[in-house]
Symmetry: C2
Subunit: 305 residues, 2 copies
């Protein structure tokens, strides 16, 4: 299907992650059109970003310059141009501190939003600050913790509209490496986690952090000796890793409301493990939060420029 030609968007919203580039043609908060490509940050050199962007948005451009508001790994040190990290505690977004890459096409006014940093323990995030801003635009009075599972899971403490602090866990990436590339690939591979096995293992690991290092190889041995299935192995591995994450993140969820925002299947695992551990946890569809955050940023820029 060919997209209808759209002319004259007020501004363009861009979510530019490691593997995907998504763009929206916007009039205020209204979406006129949207497109995406696989030209993520990870596949581009600095010279490649402007052409990759134009490939998707050129026919939206008229004669006037258009603001382009971008978030995500596009602003990493290995991206288009490094955007700063704003130190927490702070509001999730300050679009006036966006970084402006030099562009050859005069119709593009690109703003790359800053990420967030934390000194102790050292931590950084990029892209999630825009999701958080989108969440707070819709839930301005929220007090509690946001849990954003994915390749890296971000736990973010929110109070009075500010990000107080946050903690990143590499659980998703560790799971992918162990299930597909370690000796456990012979047991697990791409199998989907069995929920009973997941909940049993996450309860064990959430109360005994030794379980995660000690319980990995027994998954292979149990497949060889006891006929553990791939789905049970996937459930136990995921449970051991997420359970030990919950144990280490306990101060972030034990006495406050938690909202889990991420892909539905992975979020359901976190929700199940958190609820089983006694947390006040709620799952939320986060599909549109990035756009809501980019819209809040565009609105702030318009008010001040």
């Amino acid at each position: 299907m060919v997209s209808p030609v759209v002319t004259g968007p007020d501004w363009i919203a861009v979510d530019w992650g490691t593997t995907r580039l998504r763009v929206w043609a916007m009039q205020g908060s209204e979406v006129l059109d949207n497109r995406s490509s696989d030209k993520g940050m990870g596949s581009l050199t600095p010279e490649g970003f402007e052409p990759a962007l134009l490939e998707l948005v050129a026919d939206w451009l008229g004669d006037r310059p258009v603001p382009v508001i971008a978030c995500g790994m596009v602003g990493a040190r290995t991206g288009w141009i490094e955007a700063e990290y704003r130190p927490t505690p702070c509001t999730p977004l300050d679009p006036l501190r966006a970084t402006r890459p030099l562009v050859a096409d005069p119709r593009l006014q690109v703003h790359i939003l800053p990420g967030l940093s934390q000194i102790d323990p050292p931590d950084v995030l990029r892209g999630e600050e825009t999701q958080i801003a989108g969440f707070l635009a819709r839930n301005p009075d929220f007090e509690g913790t946001l849990c954003l599972p994915g390749t890296h899971c971000k736990w973010v403490r929110i109070a009075s509209g500010m990000v107080e602090g946050f903690h990143t866990f590499m659980t998703g990436e560790v799971y992918a490496l162990l299930s597909r590339q370690s000796v456990l690939r012979l047991t697990i591979g791409d199998a989907r986690p069995d929920m009973d096995s997941f909940l049993e293992a996450s309860a064990q690991a959430a109360t005994n952090a030794d379980m995660a290092p000690a319980g990995l190889f027994p998954l292979r041995a149990a497949a060889l000796l006891n006929g553990l299935t791939a789905e049970q192995g996937a459930g136990r591995l995921s449970g051991l890793l997420i359970g030990s994450e919950l144990a280490a993140a306990r101060p972030l969820w034990s006495d406050r409301r938690v909202v889990i925002i991420g892909a539905p299947e992975l979020s359901a695992l976190y929700a199940g493990a958190l609820t089983q551990a006694g947390a006040d946890a709620h799952q939320m569809d986060g599909g549109e939060l990035v756009l809501a955050g980019l819209t809040a940023a565009a609105s702030a820029l318009t008010r001040t420029t």
Copy 2:
């Protein structure tokens, strides 16, 4: 250099792991010659094992059949032929329970030694039983724990010449995947661990098991924000993983003598972390233990056949 042609070994010793094949021409316990190739189990289909063996030993063979005593992953389910697992507690070796693959060349009498298994927690080992037998042939009165670091680290409780039980940790494989393939590759890669950073992190993780999941991503952030070097990152990652292994393995080392047998550099890390944690730990060169174990097996076979 061309090896001198050796004829008439009494028997042939074979250490056949996942990545390497090593063979020795033996007269009793005397080594006449030795060779190796990269035809490990991982690169062979079942039909490939006999040719890979003959490639190294054919010119050692005369007219008479020669016993070939083999240990290691050659006996895995995905190896030449599956050799059994003997359930612990038991002696490390019982060569009479070796598995005999069918061979086309009548001069080869191949014996693949059994591995060891444990029901609870489920665990298996293959190859290390022969190193353990070699160690016990030289230290028959040893009581304590053997720690065999490597891709997978095996902790083996020894009493009265028997293997009472054992526990496998995937620490080496987890380190390799995280340092070379996760986001931490941008910080660590192939850097060698800084010892001070290693000892600091292993002490933290040995006393607080939450450190290992919580401390991974901060290594990347500390490199971005604080100039953490690759060597410091390698030391901290190794320390977090080995420290959490020590915490989980505490019952295996806290009240007994530990002998660490493995590659010198990795063994030195385990020795440093164990000593710092108060263990009675000793490092030992294990280079010849497999051959000592295979020799003990050959001697037992000769006595009984």
